[in-house]
């Protein structure tokens, strides 16, 4: 059990050792308890569990010398002190900015059911609650976690965070076809998020199984992106609307276009650290600054580039409360839903391709946003607003900015998602894209 008492004591010891060695510091002590059921072929391939203490330490002098340390150890004191002594031998960093005050608030968002499960007090029956026996040939994982966080800094400020998460994804196979879906919630809710994801995956696999196979020829098509696909591409977009990505030349976003309409009016993307339903929830960032929900894109207008104090200073902006230990980061991403139901989305697609999952998004040129991504699982060929065939693995190959400028509509229903290809917890609807490049081997 990783209690606050222990975290406070370890963080406090690290802080004491840093006093006198560093003019500015932040110590983040994180206690993580996690359990994961991993599935393959409808069986449990392994059950994994973790109980660890992690530290992130930022150390700086006011002349600009700075250093970051990541420690996964239960005895950080000596390492913290020796690292702090390194800082004086460095040169001032062009990214230095004075450490901001910790304006955030402590928080607790703990689902008692998850907490009792992880403490062993009252175990949940994941397999039963997911209704695993109904899924047949299924692979995936289900994870329960609790993260306690203590932040203290050289201003003498101290914050606490405590939250739980229930996340996972399932891939259901039916006769050589498959469907995959994920979930990400701060609460267990009787396993309902996992059951909904399982149902979505199963329905996709079975619908695809019931349709004939047909090949898609390379070309440009109207495309309906499922929330799983839209979530991945939005994650890539938000990753580029980031001060560090722009500074490092790894983004097609131009900060001089803030305030300009650069995407479709149908697109609104919010970084939402205060959405209590999503596991990215936090009331303070890694510099202790208060988080706030803010639109990255509002009705197509680029509104915010995410910053910590350092990238903000380098780019003449203000911190947006998105500090990671080193780089800015989004907490949770919310894409504003539209007003089309699932049948209406297919009707609006008319003739085109409905892509339900993807992976391996890679860029030919980050500054131009040229990319491709590979579909997996069910891909439907739609004619006259109805799925008429299922096709094999294809690629979307386009420019990310241009693709998001061709979004015509968003679906009414949004899904809370997180998996390999959507690392930031996201609430995403379907997105209908007027035209996208499709390639095949």
């Amino acid at each position: 059990m990783t209690g606050f008492e222990e975290l406070e004591a370890l963080a406090g010891e690290a802080g004491r050792r840093l006093h006198g060695l560093a003019e500015e510091f932040v110590v983040l002590a994180r206690g993580v308890e996690r359990e994961m059921l991993k599935l393959a072929r409808g069986e449990a391939s392994v059950v994994q569990s973790w109980n660890s203490i992690e530290f992130g330490v930022y150390v700086a002098r006011r002349d600009g010398r700075l250093l970051f340390t990541e420690l996964s150890t239960s005895s950080p004191g000596d390492a913290v002190e020796s690292v702090a002594r390194l800082v004086e031998r460095l040169e001032p960093s062009p990214l230095y900015a004075p450490l901001p005050r910790a304006t955030g608030e402590s928080y607790s968002l703990v689902d008692p059911a998850i907490a009792r499960h992880l403490s062993g007090e009252e175990r949940l029956d994941l397999a039963h609650d997911i209704e695993l026996e109904l899924l047949g040939d299924v692979a995936g994982m289900a994870s329960l976690s609790r993260t306690r966080l203590v932040l203290l800094n050289s201003h003498g400020e101290r914050l606490r965070g405590d939250k739980t998460a229930f996340t996972g994804y399932l891939r259901v196979f039916r006769g050589g076809r498959s469907g995959q879906w994920s979930w990400a919630h701060t609460g267990y809710d009787g396993g309902r998020p996992a059951r909904r994801a399982a149902q979505a995956a199963r329905e996709l696999a079975e619908e695809c199984q019931g349709l004939p196979a047909e090949r898609v020829e390379p070309g440009r098509y109207r495309v309906l992106l499922s929330p799983m696909v839209a979530g991945n591409l939005v994650d890539e977009l938000v990753g580029m609307a980031n001060g560090a990505s722009i500074l490092f030349g790894m983004s097609f976003i131009r900060p001089d276009t803030i305030g300009e309409r650069v995407f479709s009016e149908a697109l609104t993307i919010v970084d939402a650290p205060r959405d209590a339903s999503l596991p990215g929830y936090s009331l303070f960032d890694d510099e202790g600054v208060a988080t706030r929900d803010k639109a990255v894109v509002r009705r197509g207008v680029l509104e915010t580039v995410l910053h910590n104090s350092k990238t903000a200073k380098a780019m003449g902006a203000e911190t947006t409360g998105n500090a990671g230990l080193l780089m800015p980061r989004p907490f949770s991403i919310v894409v504003e839903p539209g007003d089309l139901g699932s049948d209406e989305l297919l009707e609006a697609l008319g003739n085109g391709v409905y892509v339900t999952n993807n992976w391996y998004t890679r860029f030919q040129s980050y500054p131009e946003g040229a990319f491709s991504t590979v579909t997996r699982d069910a891909v439907f060929i739609v004619r006259g607003g109805r799925p008429v065939a299922c096709t094999g693995r294809i690629r979307i190959a386009d420019r990310l900015g241009e693709l998001f400028s061709r979004v015509e509509a968003a679906g009414r229903e949004a899904w809370r998602l997180e998996w390999w290809e959507i690392p930031v917890p996201s609430l995403v609807p379907h997105l209908l894209v007027g035209e996208a490049g499709i390639t095949t081997a």
Partner: protein, 477 residues
Amino acid sequence: MDGLDVERLLGLALDLAGSMGASYAEARYHALHGHQAGLMDGRVFAAGYEETVGLAVRVIVDGGLGFSATNRLTREGVEEAVRRAVAGARLASGMLRRPVRMAPGRLGRAKYSVSERRPLESLGLEEKLGMLRERVGAAGLEGLGIEIRRLTVFYQELRERKVLATMNGGYIESYVPRVLVGYNITASSGGSVRNRLGMLGWSGGLEGLDEEDLTGSLEDDARSLAVALTRAGRIEPGRMDVVLSPELTGIAVHESIGHPSEADRVLGREAAQAGLSYWSELELGDRLGSEHVTVVDDPTVPGSFGFYLYDDEAVPARPRFLLLEGRVREMLHNRETGAVYGVGSNGAARARDYKSEPIVRMANTFVQPGDHSLEELVEGVRSGVYIRKYMEWNIDDYRWAARYVGLEAYRIRNGRLEEPVRDVVLEITSPEFWGSIDAVGRDLRLYPGFCGKGEPMQAIPVTMGGPSIRLRGVMVR
């Protein structure tokens, strides 16, 4: 080791697991230490240190597999980790049709370490940064007709110490230091902007900074960007011959031979993550590539980024011939998949850190060299393209169809390299790729990378490579 009686803690874990009914148990102390730093246009923008130290326990109870990890390196911490692993295994055993078992086979009892002529611990961070900056500063990136908008360079070292003990007698102590230098060059010309990511990596000490030519790599990549931005035109799509450099051969062999040869993927254990494998439709001895193609995965290549001598189940490492003269020869196995196939492990179990379960992984995967020079490969092409570097690549989750997009490429006509072409797309199935090779070069080269797999995701150090190769009559767009 670090003042801890690691051997005693590992023994405690194995004894307790046995007393709790485990038919198999392994305990691994796994420590990673090292400096990190980033340069932006020659200035240090951040420096840091990573320390990841903890213990992993894996057990089989009633056929179920349980894994747990802790960084509480006390008697109580280890006992709790064992109890959690055993509880997890019992839970898994209730959801199984086929019990997990470990293949029998010889396990190692050994200590080994990679020697460092200039040990990583012998220099301070500021001295390492000085060495790095000297090499970056020496790179001549001017006069190429392009504007270098940003040059970022990342330095990362990881000194990996492991002590592994298994219930059935395996005991391995190892020390492998690794260094990685990565960079991104962003350049523009006219209205176009491009970037190039590069990486150098090795196992060993700081002597690698002298042996690996960072300055030369930066200069060569800047020249490639200049070619792409200022001189390259579009290629007319069509079926033609293609010559690929070792860099392209490396990514192709990693993605379309190495990954599909992983037996856990073939068995579906990674189906919802890294996906499945077209090798599930193949038998040993089936023809997949032309007779010119032999593919090896060899963890024992000295100085390589993917080097190890014993895997994380204490099985001795050895070269694995995945393809021999175009035919499927063997898959990559750990002890679990080796038991399923009845062939035993071939030493491919690897874990990223103490928080990771050992799963089937590649090490150094490459196409064996032949006897052609690059000039000879090109001379044999009447109409085709030579792709020297790529940026974008991906492959589907069945490992059937891959896409590689050239950053620097040249049209070949009548056996001669001619004008540069940009964004050349090779989108091709694995059997077509490997079956169309008619000649293999002798210019073997390995490229470092981090390979992702598992849940939670484990990025492990590998290399991928080979010589230049020639493909006949494939579709190019």
